[in-house]
């Protein structure tokens, strides 16, 4: 046992030295180079540029690349999380006898949890809805949102979440509907192109010179002109709903093992 430990430590530490040498010597990155790579420069200069062919109508490069330039990849990534949740539900089906009764938390914890949770939810929604303008997006907003249910579960138990309407069945259906919404937004330009006789592609954002069936990026309202960047705002909001419902569901699944015995 001790020999194996020493061997593993030796191998991993030599791996560290080797990786450092490879990274520094191969020119993957170098602190003295001040310029970005060519691909990064292409994204940075062309995505917010009105005259460019890969214009995404958004000052946020990360969200634009994520949902416009590699939208199908992001869609399948969302389905991977969906499959993990379905697998967890399947494995943890039925009754469990692992449980231990949980102690009631103090009044300070309960009151603070009730005060803080709405703030977290508001911050998460703001990060997700402004995802095409400021740093953030659907995934990031969803990941912030899940902290709210986590605090509620730890302080008040998941029966409190059930009172708010967040049951397993409703969360799973919300998650499925949001994923369906992402897919529908993705094929909208194909359908519009087929109906109107234009060319349209899956997960296409703005109209291109050779494919006219795209989304607009500005909306004129009585009080001003709003920028919503084509598909980006819809995909961000749907992804926010999908990720928050999915992670809340997974927390409820993992907590149900403990909670069941308490009743």
């Amino acid at each position: 046992m001790r020999n194996r430990l020493g061997l593993t430590a030796f191998i991993t530490s030599s791996l560290v030295v080797l990786m450092t040498l490879v990274i520094v010597k191969s020119g993957l990155t170098n602190p003295l180079i001040a310029e970005n790579t060519q691909l990064a420069m292409k994204f940075l200069t062309n995505i917010p540029n009105l005259n460019s062919s890969i214009f995404s109508a958004s000052p946020e490069i990360v969200t634009s690349v994520l949902w416009d330039h590699r939208g199908i990849d992001t869609f399948y990534e969302t389905t991977v999380l969906f499959l993990a949740i379905v697998g967890a539900l399947y494995v943890l089906e039925g009754k469990h006898d692992l449980a231990r009764a949980r102690e009631e938390s103090t009044i300070i914890t309960r009151v603070v949890a009730k005060l803080v949770t709405p703030l977290i939810v508001v911050v998460a929604a703001s990060v997700a809805i402004h995802g095409h303008l400021t740093p953030g997006g659907g995934f990031q907003g969803g990941a912030i949102f899940v902290v709210g249910p986590l605090i509620m579960i730890l302080a008040l138990g998941s029966s409190k979440l059930a009172e708010l309407g967040l049951s397993k069945e409703s969360l799973l259906s919300v998650r499925s509907l949001a994923l369906l919404g992402v897919a529908l937004v993705g094929i909208t330009s194909v359908l519009a192109g087929m109906l109107g006789g234009y060319t349209g592609y899956i997960f296409m954002n703005l109209p291109k010179t050779h494919a006219e069936a795209g989304f607009p990026y500005l909306i004129h309202l009585p009080w001003g002109t709003l920028l919503f960047s084509g598909t980006l705002i819809f995909l961000n909001i749907l992804e926010f709903v999908a990720v928050s419902a999915g992670f809340t569901l997974s927390l409820i699944i993992l907590d149900s093992v403990v909670e069941r015995e308490e009743k």
């Binding site: 593993t8 450092t20 970005n36 940075l44 200069t45 590699r70 969302t78 993990a84 995934f139």
Partner: protein, 137 residues
């Protein structure tokens, strides 16, 4: 060697060292929950490494054009864009890491449920205490 360069090498080595600790723990520790914790440390260190590869010494801002507003947003001119691109960090590692974090959470969720099931079926999560018998017909 300037102080910036020294700090950069120091951070690179530390991140790789954290990854090595995670890898070592994943292999050596027999307990499932400890393996999960080490897996988290390992994946976080690798994500940190990827962010670090996008850093440039003159970069002073995130890859988001300054001043994004919902109402009346004006798109930047060519000169503003050139200025922006020369002072922003690389966006591509950040894009990849958003993907990697969500996939990592999915893997974590599935492994956690499997370890709960193992504790229920075998009474232990310690892999060295598990007795692997022959399967009955």
């Amino acid at each position: 060697m300037s102080i910036e360069e020294f700090l950069w090498y120091y951070i690179l080595f530390m991140v790789l060292g954290t990854a090595a600790v995670g890898l070592c723990g994943m292999v050596c520790r027999p307990h499932m929950i400890k393996k999960l914790i080490m897996l988290t440390i390992y994946s976080d260190a690798i994500e940190m490494l990827a962010v670090l590869l996008g850093y440039r010494i003159l970069a002073t801002q995130p890859p988001v054009f300054f001043g994004g507003v919902l109402e009346g947003f004006t798109f930047p001119t060519e000169a503003e864009l050139r200025d922006f691109a020369s002072s922003a960090v690389d966006p591509i590692p950040q894009v990849l890491i958003v993907t990697a974090i969500v996939i990592g959470l999915a893997v974590m969720l599935f492994l956690a449920t499997i370890s709960i099931k193992a504790a229920e079926l075998f009474g232990t999560q310690n892999l060295s205490k598990l007795e692997v018998g022959e399967l009955d017909e």
